[in-house]
Subunit: 576 residues, 2 copies
């Protein structure tokens, strides 16, 4: 593809996945890391190994002499030598050493972002002594985030200070490194966006994902983020892209953010390289973060960042002990699950908290994705049932009358008096194992609730809305006016006019806003229509619908046979 | 994942892609091939290279000593030594040497398949002399397929004999190798199915694909096969699975078949390994053929063979000359196309006809997939416009009144008199760039045509049907009764009853068969509903629908401003 060689500083799992993408494009890579056993070196012919540390200046120079482009899989590299190589040779370096320098010092990173007008939490530099920390407590209150400025990752270098009495312990835990303090932000979710930037400055972002951390280490990623406020999704992507644009150099960047109660966003930190919040892109997107990083630094056209599946989750496989079999047991469980991909990094030793691999799950829809993830959770040695129930709730039992946490179909009705008419819709969706929610939304009595319901439907993950209403029957049409999803209207028969009033109110929509109308009181057909609609994106439902039609046919044919057997005069009386 | 090591006989592109899958699962592989530059060896650390030929007995023994499981990426290996290794060591061999032996000799392969009752073309053994060939001509007529029994691949070893005068040339071209003759079957398509079989005999198949050969080399693969007869798809999978079940051993198998005019299928040949008709599975399926081969031979659970995208195409990059830049130019064109993945195999030299790489395209739907492929075709040095127009027809110009070759929406109406009512549907689909077809299907006057249309809709690739009808208006409901797709009904207003007759005929369907009914004469809303429905599987249409709703809103707000500006008394007269 490109005869230029790429040198990667660091041979860990990110380097390994970069090298795998490079081999697809037949781009030669050379890996700098200690020994021959580093994960990335295992998948690159040995002639392309450089033995040494990515923070050793002379080794970096040795690597630079073998390649045309240098890039990093870790930011803790010797920047001074990179700056010198950039000045004194033709080797291109991506991202730019100046960016890596800013990123390396988290305080400088925050100062940079703030000076560019980007939203970050309040912060202040502190010295490694109690008085300086106390001054920060006075300024920002408690709890207070104390953070190492440098060499921090995967939670090492963060301390949540709960009281001034803990200051000595905090300073000792942070080991005398340069520090800064940050106002503790009570976020409701952590989210992240991968951004790729080409050598000529074109910037594209991947979908917003939800990241779940435990002990400051990312455990779990869900893509895309499901949220009731569609603005949050567009604002997060814009914020991430804006942040990356303030730096120079090409490549992929991970932007981690806090989402607060009021739906505002703050940048937490930026990684100048592939990031585990983007692992899911390998299976779930048209172009992975790794391939796009290579495309960016090689000056090739950027690939599509869109998802090619409806939902994805990524579970980091963190070491539980020195016993590798804990990890392989989880991996074996995952292999039984359709749509699960197991990535093991080839690390020779397992240690508690070490990133040994990850599992990506993809699916046609969120509810099955999470049910599948639940199986994998149950195989974890430190399986946490609270976390499991929070992120992978069990599907409600059919007939339990409870809404699914991640519905594909929303069944709404104008009044509880419509419930008997709408119940068959629920029962038919149960039969097809389609997750749904059922609730009351009244156009006339709860117009604001209706607006919110319609506006949030897409980003909450709904794909079809079934709305039942009687009489003037405005609900289906008003909801259709405020969403891009297909809306199915069920005319409910009232006490006068035999439901023709409802039918005409629902079906006779003006040009521009369609409502898919079914027969009066026939919520069964609304559910069956929803299943047919979902068949476009959940292919097995098409087969289920084929089977349903066949069963209906067989039922009638049985009656044909019975009619012939007992004769029509006895048909009603026969018990055969 | 598994501490057992896998030895691969052959280090070409198939071995390379197997090795890439192995590295994901952290399964160690050892490659046997000549030199250190073989494609597969480039992505495996050099300590796992064995230098030598996969047909050299002592080298195969050397490989066997280093591994726990042996497998092949090519069938032209020394089977006798494999049989001996199977007997005298604990090394497992997949697929079984006995299967490889049968497959190696195409005559024996055909005899085996015929003896198992599987459909193959008529064939007979011939000797390498004119009399023997003439006897075969007498038996099967002309043209006659003459084929080498052994060491044939990618078209080498096949000769289409058109007249007895060509026999000397044919024998010379086939170079004195053992031969057989086959009745020439005038197929309408070539199709293929990848089948994976686990060590305990579980068998699963991938979707049926269409393969397009030129000079007996596979050029192009489309997945899934689009066909108007749904039975063909299920019969092809069954035939392929049945064929694989007649052999012993685990792994992935490529079954190539001929589809004849009468929709019957014949097995052409079987590959006991990954196959280029399954390359597309890397990006398009939940589990690639390579990973499933490894899972199968390692005794791990098989992964899902389902597609995770709606449509895929694979283009083999065959050398045009010794100039590598021909290939990289095509690859560069592909990188500009969303959903295109470039695979280059790292072969050091380019030669005419050599497999240098492949490009896989995936997309939400077939029409855009083929339009994208058309761009890539145009970058081929030997671009063939007839082939291009056949397989990647240009989309019809909006407003041309022509149906797309690969429509997502079918617009049908009971009579040409309904056309003026249905035209707005076509125009709105044009606006959203949704490919569609438009035709007349009458429930009452062409009931058989209606049945065929409804029954073939899914496998032809349609996802929504819009049916317009007036009066007794049976078309939408009858079509809905014979397909699992969502059907949208447009009641057409007749000369009496104001269209209420049509509305009630369409909307009042019995429980079990829904029709999504829109307002009388409102085919605009039918098209907009179709776009909303497609939004579930073609996500950018959801954004287009958002933009459409915004534009509608803006148009009304402009009128609000005008009304305020000119006053209502002058509103109709003003030209502002």
């Amino acid at each position: 593809m490109d005869s230029r060689r790429v040198g990667i500083l660091g041979g860990g799992q990110l380097g390994r996945m970069l090298a795998a993408s490079a081999s697809l494009l037949n781009v030669d890579v050379v890996i700098l890391d200690n020994g021959d056993d580093a994960p990335a070196k295992q998948i690159v012919a040995s002639s392309s190994h450089v033995d040494g540390s990515f923070s050793n200046a002379s080794k970096i120079r040795e690597l630079a002499e073998k390649v045309d482009i240098l890039t990093v899989e870790i930011e803790h590299v010797d920047v001074t030598v990179l700056e010198d190589i950039a000045k004194t040779s033709k080797v291109e370096i991506h991202p730019s050493p100046s960016m890596i320098r800013i990123i390396q010092d988290k305080l400088v990173q925050k100062q940079h972002l703030r000076s560019e007008g980007l939203a970050v939490a309040d912060f202040v530099e502190v010295d490694s002594n109690a008085d300086s920390v106390k001054a920060a407590v006075k300024q920002f209150g408690l709890p207070l985030m104390l953070k190492s400025r440098t060499l921090a990752c995967d939670g090492r270098g963060n301390y949540v200070l709960k009281g001034v009495d803990d200051i000595p312990e905090a300073l000792s835990a942070l080991g005398g490194k340069p520090l800064y303090a940050e106002r503790f932000m009570p976020f409701v979710k952590e989210v992240a966006v991968m951004v790729v930037r080409s050598v000529d400055g074109e910037t594209q972002s991947y979908p917003v994902v939800e990241t779940i951390h435990k002990d400051n280490i990312c455990q779990l990623v869900f893509a895309p983020l499901r949220h009731s406020n569609p603005d949050v999704l567009s604002r997060a992507r814009t914020l991430a892209e804006d942040a990356v644009r303030t730096f120079t150099g090409a490549g992929i960047f991970g932007v981690e953010m806090f989402l607060l109660e009021d739906d505002s966003l703050l940048i937490n930190e930026i990684a100048p390289r592939p990031h585990n919040s983007g692992h899911y892109t390998i299976e779930a997107c048209y172009t992975s973060q790794y391939e796009n990083h290579l495309r960016a630094i090689l000056g090739l056209p950027l690939g599509s960042t869109a998802m090619k599946v409806s939902a994805a989750a990524m579970l980091n496989l963190l070491g539980y002990s020195t016993d590798m079999s804990d990890i392989t047991n989880v991996a074996h469980t995952a292999l039984k699950i359709p749509g699960a991909s197991v990535h093991l990094y080839g690390k020779r030793e397992c240690r508690k908290g070490r990133k040994m691999g990850h599992i990506t799950l993809v699916n046609d829809h969120e509810a099955v994705l999470r049910a599948n993830l639940r199986h994998i959770f149950s195989a974890l040695p430190d399986s946490d049932s609270a976390l499991t129930n929070l992120f992978t709730p069990a599907l409600p039992e059919p007939g339990s009358g409870k809404s699914a946490a991640h519905p594909l179909v929303g069944i709404i009705m104008g009044s509880d008096s419509d419930l008997p008419v709408m119940l068959p819709a629920a029962r038919h969706l149960d039969q097809f194992e389609v997750p749904y929610e059922l609730t009351i939304v009244s156009a006339h009595r709860t117009p604001e609730r209706m607006t919110e319901y319609a506006r949030s439907a897409t980003t909450r993950g709904l794909r079809v809305i079934i709305a039942g209403a009687g009489g003037a029957a405005h609900l289906p049409g008003m909801v259709a006016a405020m969403t891009s999803l297909p809306v199915i209207g069920v005319p409910v028969k009232g006490s006068t006019l035999d439901g023709v009033d409802s039918l005409h109110s629902i079906v006779q929509m003006p040009r521009g806003i369609p409502v898919a109308t079914v027969a009066i009181n026939n919520s069964t057909n609304a559910a069956l229509l929803a299943v047919r609609i979902l068949g476009g994106s959940v292919p097995h439902l098409l087969s289920s619908m084929d089977a349903f039609l066949k069963k209906q046919e067989d039922e009638v044919l049985t009656k044909v046979a019975k009619l012939e057997y007992v004769g029509w005069e006895n048909y009603g009386k026969s018990t055969i």
